[in-house]
């Protein structure tokens, strides 16, 4: 049987390869400078690589991008801060200060930061468990995220949620159930449409979750009712420890919405990411075309979670190659330096600032107390409508409301 299976895979491989001959490329430094004004407060003009996008049932976004030097610097600072924050979480986990689950987004910074630079404040975002950078970008704080990871009162859910459970008014959380956030995102988008808001919802999920039944249920409802929902597949190539090719019969995730048009994006180049998000927003909100599938092709450097070294299902060389040749932060750094927008010195200062900001937050959350015992029973039911009592941690402990 096993030899048969191998045979079948061998026979299928060439077709699979052929289909991917002209997929998007994922280099982080192939955007070209087209026009640079004398006055750097004016927008500069860039041209994205022609293989930054692939499309399904829709036109490609234009490759020309207008952006200010200041915005590029902000992106750099934010990506660097997000990576620092995730590295801090990694260290805190290894120091046993974080217990439970922790999924880091190191390597995928261009998606979270790029998303924020392409959307508006009142658009809504909901994502899966790899959620820390999104929470910060959507108005949260590093202290709030790390506090939640440590289970302290300073956490964004008062220390009761932990990783995956962080929210802001426009960010409906990370979510621990694979794929469960996608239909919720469709519901959120429906409310926006119902209220005739000029906003949309970005419902993110991974390549692993893309095979969940409820993701397709949400696709269908969104297209049926033309909801302003952008389904965003963050394809980091591995769903836990299984590569996309081993889990999905169709790895072109942007084509999996049936009648929903799709756009595949180089998710390692933040400028392409921003451009794609603007395109998606324009598609759903300005043009009222209904939902769109957006696939960011990205890569996670770390394992799926803290208990996964991330090297049993892929080679160290592969990770090393991605880190050294396609890193989104280094890519942007090269742009900024090559185009003469800032000096190496100035960027080093931003790195230092990012580190200091994260260090400060780490120090603060370590001081933050753990949740009060009475909060074990709070926020289960709306205050005043609870059952008369709930059981506690041990036999005789009963909390009366």
């Amino acid at each position: 049987m096993s030899s048969l299976a191998r045979l079948r895979i061998a026979r299928r491989l060439p077709t699979a390869l052929r289909a991917h001959v002209r997929g998007v490329q994922t280099t982080a430094d192939t955007t070209e400078l087209h026009n640079k004004p004398e006055d750097l407060s004016q927008p500069i003009t860039l041209k994205l690589h022609e293989d930054s996008f692939s499309t399904h049932l829709c036109e490609k976004p234009s490759l020309e991008v207008q952006i200010t030097a200041q915005e590029l610097m902000t992106m750099y600072k934010q990506m660097q801060t997000m990576r620092r924050m995730e590295m801090a979480a990694d260290a805190l986990y290894k120091a046993k200060l974080i217990r439970g689950f922790c999924h880091l987004a190191i390597g995928q910074e261009a998606v979270s930061v790029g998303l924020e630079h392409g959307i508006e404040k009142n658009d809504r975002v909901i994502t899966a468990y790899r959620c820390h950078p999104f929470a910060v970008m959507r108005g949260g704080t590093i202290k709030g995220v790390l506090g939640e990871l440590l289970g302290r009162q300073a956490g964004m859910s008062n220390g009761k949620g932990g990783s995956m459970h962080i929210f802001t008014p426009t960010f409906f959380g990370g979510n621990g159930i694979v794929g469960a956030q996608v239909p919720i995102g469709a519901g959120v988008a429906f409310a926006q449409k119902y209220r005739a808001e000029k906003h949309c919802t970005f419902a993110l999920y991974g390549d692993g979750a893309s095979n969940q039944g409820q993701v397709f249920e949400a696709f269908n409802m969104a297209k049926l009712w033309d909801l302003p929902c952008v389904f965003v597949c963050e394809n980091n190539k591995y769903g836990m420890g299984t590569s996309a090719e081993r889990s999905s019969s169709n790895t072109s995730y942007f084509t999996r919405g049936d009648k929903i048009p799709g756009l595949q994006v180089n998710g390692m180049d933040i400028i392409a990411a921003k451009r794609a998000v603007e395109y998606a927003r324009n598609w759903t909100v300005e043009q009222g075309n209904g939902p769109l599938l957006l696939e960011f092709v990205t890569y996670r450097y770390g394992g799926h979670s803290m208990s996964d070294p991330g090297t049993t299902y892929r080679t160290r060389e592969e990770v090393q190659r991605m880190r050294s040749t396609q890193d989104p932060i280094r890519g942007l750094q090269r742009y900024i330096e090559e185009w003469g927008l800032a000096t190496e010195q100035e960027l080093k200062q931003l790195d230092k600032d990012a580190k200091a900001e994260v260090d400060q937050a780490v120090a603060e959350v370590k001081e933050s107390p753990e949740p009060l015992i009475k909060d074990l029973w709070s926020d289960i039911y709306f205050k005043g409508t609870e059952p008369p009592f709930m059981r506690g941690r041990e036999r005789e402990e009963i909390h009366y409301y």
Binding site: M156, F167, A186, G187, A191, M221, D379
Partner: protein, 426 residues
Amino acid sequence: MTILKPYPRLSLPSSKLLARNVSPLRGASQRRNNSSEAVEAPPAGGHLPSIATSQILRTKRESALRTSGLVWADEDSIAPSRTIVGGRETRKMNTYQAIRDAMGIAMAKDETAVVFGEDVAFGGVFRCTMGLAEEFGKERVFNTPLTEQGIAGFGIGLAVMGHTAIAEIQFADYIYPAFDQIVNEAAKIRYRSGGSFNCGALTIRTPTMAVGHGGLYHSQSPEGFFMGASGLKIVIPRSPIQAKGLLLSSIRDPNPVIFMEPKILYRSAVEQVPADDYELPLGKAETLISGSDVTVLTWGTPVYHCETAIHMFNNPPSSIQSAVPTSLRSAKVELIDLRSILPWDVEAVVESVNRTGRLVIVHEAGMTAGVGAEIAAEVQKRCFLKLNAPVRRVTGWDVPVALQYEKFHIPDSIRILDALVETLTY
């Protein structure tokens, strides 16, 4: 079924019989005295109360308006609540009409309220949403695809945005694909977001319990599966008045509620229902018949089987007289409708059992890990020294609900009667 074992006629005073350690059952098997008379046909219409003739249903305006716990919701919210019933109207309705009436009121008063589910725009399979789409527009009452998990997730998304979401899952049997969304998202989102988000505006209506011929996938009672999901409320009404008041409370309750409607009662239970906007309390049981010797606790459809059983117990028809010891017949049985499964009214049940010393729990779901198991465990803990008999559960069997034997699957009045006799003679 042990009911077929005739009990010896005992002439003990009932108070003595109810004391512990009296066991008239011993030796009963040796003294079989089968009735030799032929079984007579019952009078036309039967001599037992059924849903059609139930005393529990309030078929008069006066009694309907005096429904216990009823709070008019149309009044000035700061004024003290009144019980004056003058000027209030009632209309004859069955359960589906009362549910439709409740949703109409909820939608008229709350502009953010929307109703959605499979086929609800056409009135739904049980006619509960009949005319709602015409009255409130297709934007507010709309059909969804056949995607239960999607419906639940979609409803949660709508509710976290502050909309009142009234979702219908066409049969409670179809709720399992949505189990994850309900248990992991709806029930937990308030807690896991530290109170910054909630989907309290979500109500999921779903028809439940046996219908007589529903079979495996249309007659289940899944309320017990949700009982451990703190953050949710589960409500099961027994009648039109209850359905309207409890549904309005559920829709307005700031927690997600699963509202399970016993489907056999949609048409068969008829009451005079107050026409105005009113609510009935969640989390509160209601004592339907007061008693002092044994408590019968149930909810939904079996309320009426229990009423029949209690009637038979006090006045057994000749065909089963031999099974009900004369001395027991004057025992006073207390009947409680639990109404809310989560949170359940521990205080009311414990208070009752402490008085009666005996408890029989009746539900249609299977016995193993059913709602009765949780209640029995809590009652034995809190009433241990007051109990005169083990808590008895009368439930569906621990097998799938088969089409052919559905009537034998659900706890009927004979099985409840049997449990009463057994509990009282323990």
